[in-house]
């Protein structure tokens, strides 16, 4: 099993950390913003209250036009380092007193501002009327820096950062601990799956407990394993049954093959013997009684002998035919070119005194049983030679071509040919299209050819016409 690039555990920790950090930062920002605005409000409130007190203390100074007293009153602000400046204006809006006492011009506004407060970049300024018994005596103006506010903001940020880092550490520890509860059952499940696929043991169960999705997954996995185990058992039973049936059939086939063998064995032994006796005693009879037998009787004896010999030949051919269907094929590479040349050499004796032109095309090497394929060639070439007997200049061509992934071999002669109406009978056992007085033979050759070729997975067919020669084809898989 390949090692994953990342683990579920790591993913879970990352997810939890990201979530908690984001929540923490968001909450921190909201908290700081709220703290900042409420601090500003409280600061304004404090400054207004102070202005009211100062206003109340300076009513006499304003009423009696005594700026020294007013300056004295404002001087008390010196104890508060956050106070930057202050001013009193009389009822006409003229600057009456300032703090610090000798403030440079421009430090405080020359004329009173409208009642209210406003923040500037680094200071808070308020302006309040000085009123006594309903009569407006003047205006007080106070300026405070934002040091306290900034200090508070600063402290807030530090607290926020510290709590974020602390929380991250705690969240990491918690997440690492918690992810085990999720990742471990999954890893255990993966382990079981690997064990199953490696040992092919479907009786293993994950037995992972849990009420979450992993628990459901593991339960489904166990169910699947159970199903596989059941099916495997079924398949095994089916296989065993199949094997048993194959064995039975094989035994039956072997038995019938044995019977067939026994049959052909006894044909070979017991059927040939009486024929030999018939021929033997006919021969002996001919020898012993020829002087007292007339021409006709001697002719009968000749016919009996010929019939016995022919039946012997038929039995021999039938046994060969039966053997061709039973014997095991031993496939090797067969060079058709050299095999054909050999067969032609063998047939030379049969063609003695005849004018025969043999023509060989390019013949390939095929896969097959050499002795069987040799029999095919012997039969086809001997047939071509036999049936071209009456032709003055016999011409026999052997050729091959590739067709549809097969090798098609053809044997063409210019002999007596055959009536195409009987093509279907050509390859039958003991089927002959010519009288035995015309051409000798038992009629088993082409049946052997067909049986051998079909055992090699090929086909046999023929083309021809009366007195126009014949072409026999057989195909072999490449």
């Amino acid at each position: 099993m390949k090692t994953p690039r990342t683990t579920i555990g790591r993913k879970l920790v990352t997810a939890m950390m990201l979530t908690s950090t984001a929540v923490l930062i968001l909450a921190g920002i909201v908290f700081v913003a709220h703290d900042y605005t409420s601090s500003r409000r409280a600061m304004v409130q404090a400054l207004v209250t102070r202005a009211h007190i100062l206003a109340a203390n300076s009513t006499a100074a304003l009423a009696f036009q005594n700026p020294e007293d007013a300056t004295q009153v404002l001087h008390a602000l010196g104890t508060d380092p956050t106070m930057i400046g202050a001013a009193l204006y009389d009822s006409h809006g003229q600057l009456f007193a300032t703090f610090p006492a000798r403030a440079k011009p421009g430090t405080v506004p020359a004329a009173p501002m409208a009642t209210g407060h406003h923040f500037e970049r680094s200071l808070l300024a308020i302006s309040e009327p000085v009123v006594e018994t309903g009569q407006r005596l003047g205006t007080i103006y106070l300026e405070s820096d934002l040091r306290e506010l900034n200090q508070r903001l600063h402290a807030d940020a530090i607290v926020l950062l510290l709590s974020v880092f602390g929380s991250i550490a705690v969240a990491f520890a918690l997440a690492s601990w918690l992810q085990r509860g999720i990742a471990h059952p999954i890893l255990a499940l993966a382990d079981v799956a690997r064990t199953v696929s490696e040992s092919k043991d479907y009786s293993v169960r994950s037995r992972t407990v849990g009420d979450d999705e992993v628990g459901i997954l593991s339960e489904a996995f166990d169910q699947m394993l159970g199903e596989i185990q059941r099916r495997e058992r079924e398949v095994r039973l089916l296989n065993a049954d199949l094997e048993r049936r194959v064995n039975e059939r094989t035994a039956e086939l072997e038995a019938s093959n044995k019977e067939l063998e026994a049959f052909s064995y006894s044909v070979s032994h017991d059927l040939r013997a009486p024929l030999r006796h018939v021929d033997g005693f006919v021969e002996l009879l001919t020898k012993h009684a020829s002087s007292i037998l007339d021409e006709k009787a001697r002719d009968y004896l000749t016919k009996i002998s010929a019939a016995a010999k022919r039946m012997g030949a038929l039995i021999d051919d039938l046994l060969v035919f039966s053997r061709m269907g039973r014997t095991e094929m031993r496939k090797t590479s067969v060079n058709l070119a050299s095999m054909t040349a050999d067969v032609i050499q063998e047939l030379r004796d049969d063609a003695k005194g005849r004018l025969v032109e043999w023509k060989l095309g390019e013949l390939p090497t095929v896969q097959g049983d050499p002795s069987m394929l040799r029999l095919v060639l012997v039969n086809l070439l001997a047939n071509a030679l036999k049936y071209s007997g009456p032709t003055k200049e016999a011409r026999i061509e052997v050729d091959a071509r590739a067709q549809n992934g097969e090798v098609v071999v053809s044997v063409r002669d210019n002999g007596v040919g055959f009536d195409p109406a009987y093509t279907h009978k050509l390859f039958g056992v003991f089927q002959r299209l010519h009288g035995s007085n015309e051409f000798e033979g038992t009629g088993i050759g082409l049946a052997n050819v067909r049986r051998i070729v079909s055992r090699h997975g090929g086909k046999t067919w023929a083309e021809g016409a009366l007195h126009e020669g014949a072409t026999f084809y057989f195909s072999l898989p490449r």
């Binding site: 070979s268 040939r272 024929l275 002996l284 053997r323």
Partner: protein
């Protein structure tokens, strides 16, 4: 000089034809006939009907395969397992051209395997050749080639 031939053959007709063929070439005089494998074995071992026979091993045993009681292959097997007959030439003379018979016979150590031809003239020729070769031309192993006598 003519040496003794043991002919194991159960079939009356085959026997007559074989003997006729041998007689035609004056080879029949020294032929001993066994009608089945058991008799052939008795002859070889000087037992039963042949308990009192004289002479040693035949120059050749012509053996039919299909015989009652003890068949030809069994006789051949016993002979090749017995030190007394291990070296005696055996020719299987049978109707069958069955490959399994041929293979089995050679595995058991037969000296020749001859299929009886259906045509009588060929049959006569075959038997004549066999008789001439084994009973005249071939020099059989010295009698009782057993380990005991060799020592």
């Amino acid at each position: 000089m003519l040496k003794r031939i043991l002919l194991a053959e159960d079939n009356e007709n085959d026997l007559e034809l074989t003997l006729t063929a041998l007689a035609e070439h004056n080879l029949a005089n020294e032929v001993v006939v066994a009608r089945d494998g058991a008799e052939a074995w008795d002859f070889l071992c000087h037992k039963g009907a042949f308990a009192d026979r004289n002479g040693g091993n035949p120059a050749v045993v012509l053996l039919d395969l299909k015989m009652p009681k003890v068949d030809g292959l069994e006789v051949l097997r016993r002979m090749r397992e017995d030190p007394r007959f291990k070296a005696v030439p055996v020719v299987v003379l049978t109707s069958s051209r069955e490959e399994s018979d041929i293979v089995q016979s050679y595995k058991l150590g037969v000296n020749a395997f001859v299929v009886k031809p259906v045509a009588f003239d060929e049959f006569i020729g075959a038997v004549k050749n066999l008789g001439l070769f084994w009973a005249v031309l071939n020099e059989p192993p010295p009698d009782r080639i057993s380990p005991a006598s060799a020592a």
